[in-house]
């Protein structure tokens, strides 16, 4: 299995990619002479048809149904659907109900980012993996003192890497336990993980007692203590990669086109009225924003809403051009485009895969800035949330979290065995694999800090005797509504149209259709494809022993979550033309 000297372009496919949620395939052509990925198609293999089978159902069932879109962040869907229903029914939950949802969602972020970072992504940076892909880097790590050893307890970077070894490393095992404790916190507020039992339009069914919040707070403080070690640990680990492998900033790098729809409503301001959405959107505890080339394009949720476009191009659907529009203008009188989710018709047409024609079940969501259809990504969630929040300069969560206009400060109080600690996430130079991962750790600390404030506010309600958590409502005959939040991995919107008291149209857009979208009608590749293309290869293994760790690091930095693809399907990405690579034929399947 040797390759010709003049050309070393080899097909390499990963299907399914492990240590993510769902079935993702990555199909690449790699130039082993130049050590670069030259082409990438991302694929997924699931079509379930939510938008189809929800038609005609009772709108109050929407959050129970849509939670089942995703098995790791289903509650984000349930929450988004409840927000969307609140708008449709014109109901504003009691403040306490909103604090309980915020505490549940904060726990979800704390849980999900933790298990993904340490037990799924972390394995890509563990001693076993680094030793098998870049032995020299592991040796260097063993010789490199951890700059923050005093904070996290691991003397060398090699010690950190060994602690991340699957099933054996002590940090790996500790993180798995933390993922269980944070799920207990979640279940205190939302009943069940991952499909909540206590969320309803109008509020929650959770019984709000002093005990409920004490049970949450004691666990939260253990998590706060944990994060005081984890933030410096990951800073040390990720900084080491830049140092040990010069040029590593190019892995998974793409143009900054980050989107965040905002998360964690402030009940003082959020009335779920579309006409006031610009205002209450800016009061969210995580700011919405579209960030292009490092600049904040908008943080107005109405503009964000109206800019969403669902393109086809290479997908197994019939176009809905010319069909009935459900919504011609929004509640403010703005025109609504035919390619907006409110007006989307989902018409599946399964077919043979043809890369010159249709090869994908995914549609291609894009954000239209007035000129271009931007193939935006969420960077797996945290980097976009922190970036938008930092630039927005709007957030001050009881002094625990503060946006400065160029950074986000996170202040954690004293815990059982550690003094108070402050961290500052600064806007990075790049949108790349390492920075997506680093942001994830900082956002875990952000959520812990925010949750401290939410507990204070919730307890204040209970102590004042305001224990009502739910507000009655009636379902109107006709309505159009939208819910915006952040799923763990990034932007989440649910668009609903009610006619004759039933669901006439319902289109959820989670992060993965954005991040994992196929090439659109204009030929623009989706973010996974774009980020993997041009990724340099640092792995030392020859093609026959190749693991593709740099590619996997690029892909996993987006926290792929394929069930959220909803419509997503991209076929197996097999390239049509054969590479003329004498001697490499054995490698091309």
């Amino acid at each position: 299995m040797t390759t010709a000297q003049d050309s070393r372009i080899v097909e390499m496919n990963w299907d399914p990619v492990t240590r993510i949620v769902g079935s993702l395939g990555i199909y690449t052509k790699i130039d082993f002479a130049q050590k670069r990925v030259v082409e990438c198609h991302s694929t997924s293999s699931i079509f379930r048809g939510y938008s189809i089978f929800m038609r005609g159902k009772d709108p109050r069932d929407a959050h129970f149904i849509t939670s089942r879109i995703c098995g790791i962040c289903g509650d984000n869907h349930a929450t988004c659907s409840v927000y969307c229903q609140n708008m449709a029914y014109g109901v504003r939950p009691p403040h306490l109900g909103e604090w309980i949802i915020n505490l549940g969602e904060a726990a979800e972020y704390m849980f999900d980012h933790n298990i993904f970072q340490e037990n799924l992504v972390g394995v890509d940076y563990c001693a076993r993996m680094v030793g098998e892909t870049n032995p020299g880097v592991l040796e260097q790590a063993n010789r490199t003192e951890s700059p923050h050893a005093a904070e996290h307890g691991y003397r060398t970077i090699g010690d950190i890497m060994r602690a991340l070894n699957p099933l054996e490393g002590d940090f790996y095992k500790e993180a798995l336990q933390v993922s269980r404790m944070t799920r207990e916190m979640f279940c205190l507020m939302e009943g069940r993980h991952v499909h909540p039992s206590t969320l309803y339009p109008g509020g929650v069914g959770t019984v709000a007692t002093v005990q409920l919040f004490t049970d949450y707070l004691t666990r939260l403080m253990r998590y706060v203590e944990f994060m005081k070690r984890v933030v410096p640990l990951h800073d040390d680990l990720f900084d080491f990669f830049y140092e040990a492998l010069p040029g590593y900033e190019e892995v998974g790098r793409r143009r900054v086109q980050l989107i965040c729809w905002g998360s964690l409503n402030d009940p003082e301001y959020c009335d779920f009225d579309y006409r006031n959405m610009e205002n209450w959107g800016r009061k969210m505890f995580v700011s919405p924003g579209v960030v292009v080339d490092g600049k904040l394009v908008t943080n107005n949720l109405v503009d964000i809403n109206l800019g969403i476009r669902i393109l086809l191009g290479h997908s197994f659907y019939e176009d809905w051009e010319g069909m009935d529009k459900f919504v011609t203008q929004d509640a403010l009188g703005n025109p609504v485009d035919a390619r907006h989710p409110w007006n989307q018709h989902t018409i599946p047409r399964p077919a043979k895969r043809d890369f010159d024609d249709k090869y994908s079940w995914t549609m291609s969501p894009r954000w239209f800035d007035g000129t271009d259809y931007l193939a935006c990504d969420t960077g797996g969630g945290p980097i976009a949330r922190l970036w938008a929040t930092a630039l927005g300069g709007l957030v001050d969560i009881g002094g625990y979290v503060r946006s400065t206009g160029h950074s986000v400060q996170i202040n954690l109080p004293r815990t059982m065995s550690r003094p108070a600690a402050s961290f500052e996430w600064k806007i990075p130079q790049w949108s790349n694999a390492i920075e997506r991962n680093r942001a994830r750790t900082y956002f875990q600390a952000y959520c812990a800090a925010a949750a401290l404030y939410f507990v204070e506010r919730a307890l204040a309600e209970v102590r004042a005797g305001r224990t009502k958590t739910w507000e009655p409502f009636t379902v109107p005959e006709n309505a159009e509504s939208v819910g915006f939040t952040e799923a763990v991995r990034g932007v989440l919107s649910h668009h609903m149209v009610i006619r004759d008291g039933k669901i006439a149209n319902y289109h959820p857009y989670p992060p993965t259709p954005w991040n994992g979208s196929a090439r659109d009608v204009y030929g623009t590749p989706g973010p996974y494809e774009d980020a993997v293309q041009n990724t340099p290869i640092f792995e030392e293994n020859p093609p026959e022993n190749f693991k593709g760790i740099d590619i996997m690091r690029a892909v996993r930095s987006f926290d792929p979550c394929l069930p959220c693809g909803v419509h997503m399907y991209l076929g197996d990405g097999r390239v049509v033309e054969r590479m003329h690579t004498p001697g490499a034929a054995g490698l091309i399947s």
Binding site: G71, R128, L167, E184, F186, L188, V194, R574
Partner: protein, 360 residues
């Protein structure tokens, strides 16, 4: 995830290598699901997945868990550590014994002339994705046991609701309710949307003991559920049943009283969650203010929607809640029998019977 031996740097040198046969667990999450049951398993603590994988309980056979969610292996088809190779090995008869775990419902690939609804890896002969049903056709005859996890895989679940375009169904609908493995085991079903974490890990534990010859045939009810986990109703294990007995019913969500009049199906649903809590005794459904939407039942979701309306039977039984005995039990038995059966459209064949009008 890998076994204890495989996780070690030098697998061949591991001392446990000689201790009895190795049981492989092939976890296929390629059905129409959400991976919620995989995620639930990471929450289990009685036992935890690491305790199973590392042999932390007495008498456990050595296991190799091939599980996409947290598997170390992730190499390309053409290079090192290709995860899907384990499936091909099983298909070639090179893994013995193995337990096939199926997560997600099985779409009906026969209702269209081309294309596919879902796949898991590739078929080497065609270069096309291998569909979930094709994997089932290939591997079920070779598996010692087929374990269906979550309500999608067991009975069809959410993705098999009325109006669905894929004709999705559960594993027993696909293989047949009377299907037996080569070792004589029926399909084992652990329903729940998602499964209760410990219900799942405990069933895996039981099956491993059975495969190792240390436990008798797993006791299953008529819907193929382990009887010790699904023998009682939600209501029987609910700590709000006292309010029911006193005729005190919640009129608004957020009340600590019985939720039957707000949509709770607890009296007729077979599930132990209120008794067990969701994770380490924390959380649950009606016990913490969430109506039971019957997510463990074969009739889920269609026979329980709209979820937030009072169940039709509730009016009768709540009026009579002071009266105990055979009348109530008989009424419930009749209701439960219907709800314990799937809607008629979940079956194999070239026709799509869900009510969706095909556009292809």
């Amino acid at each position: 995830m890998t076994t204890a031996t495989e996780a070690a740097p030098q697998p061949a040198a591991a001392p446990e290598q000689d201790e009895g046969p190795l049981v492989h667990i092939l976890w296929m999450n390629g059905g129409l699901g959400c991976d919620g049951d995989s995620v639930a398993l990471t929450a289990a603590t009685q036992p935890s997945i690491e305790e199973i994988a590392l042999g932390a309980l007495p008498g456990l056979p050595r296991v190799a868990v091939h599980w996409p969610l947290i598997d170390y292996e992730c190499g390309p088809e053409q290079g090192a550590d290709n995860f899907i190779e384990w499936w091909h090995k099983a298909d070639r008869g090179e893994l013995e014994p193995f337990v096939l775990v199926v997560e997600g419902s099985i779409p009906n690939e026969a209702i269209k002339s081309e294309g596919y609804w879902c796949g898991f890896g590739n078929n080497p002969e065609t270069g096309q994705p291998m569909t979930t049903s094709e994997w089932l056709d290939r591997l079920a005859p070779k598996a010692t046991c087929v374990l269906a996890v979550g309500t999608c895989a067991t009975y069809g679940g959410i993705h098999a609701m009325a109006g669905n375009p894929t004709g999705a169904m559960g594993v027993p609908d696909y293989l047949g309710w009377d299907w037996r493995s080569k070792a004589g085991l029926p399909i084992v079903c652990v329903p729940g949307c998602p499964t209760h974490p410990d219900n799942l890990s405990e069933t895996i534990l039981y099956l491993l003991y059975q495969v190792a010859g240390q436990a008798p045939m797993i006791p299953l009810d008529e819907a193929l559920r382990p009887t010790w986990l699904f023998g009682a109703t939600v209501h029987e294990g609910c700590d709000r049943a006292g309010y029911y007995e006193q005729g005190e019913f919640a009129k608004e969500y957020g009340s600590p009283k019985c939720l039957v009049k707000l949509g709770c199906w607890g009296p007729v649903v077979k599930c132990n969650v209120p008794k067990r809590g969701w994770i380490n005794g924390v959380g649950g459904c009606p016990n913490v203010g969430g109506i039971c939407i019957a997510c463990t039942m074969p009739g889920f979701p269609d026979k329980f929607m709209p979820f937030m309306d009072e169940p039709p039977g509730a009016r009768v039984s709540t009026t009579a809640s002071g009266l105990y005995g055979s009348v109530i039990r008989t009424l419930r038995h009749v209701t439960a029998k219907t709800l314990d059966h799937e809607p008629k459209w979940r079956k194999k064949g070239p026709e799509l019977l869900t009510g969706y009008h095909k556009t292809w």
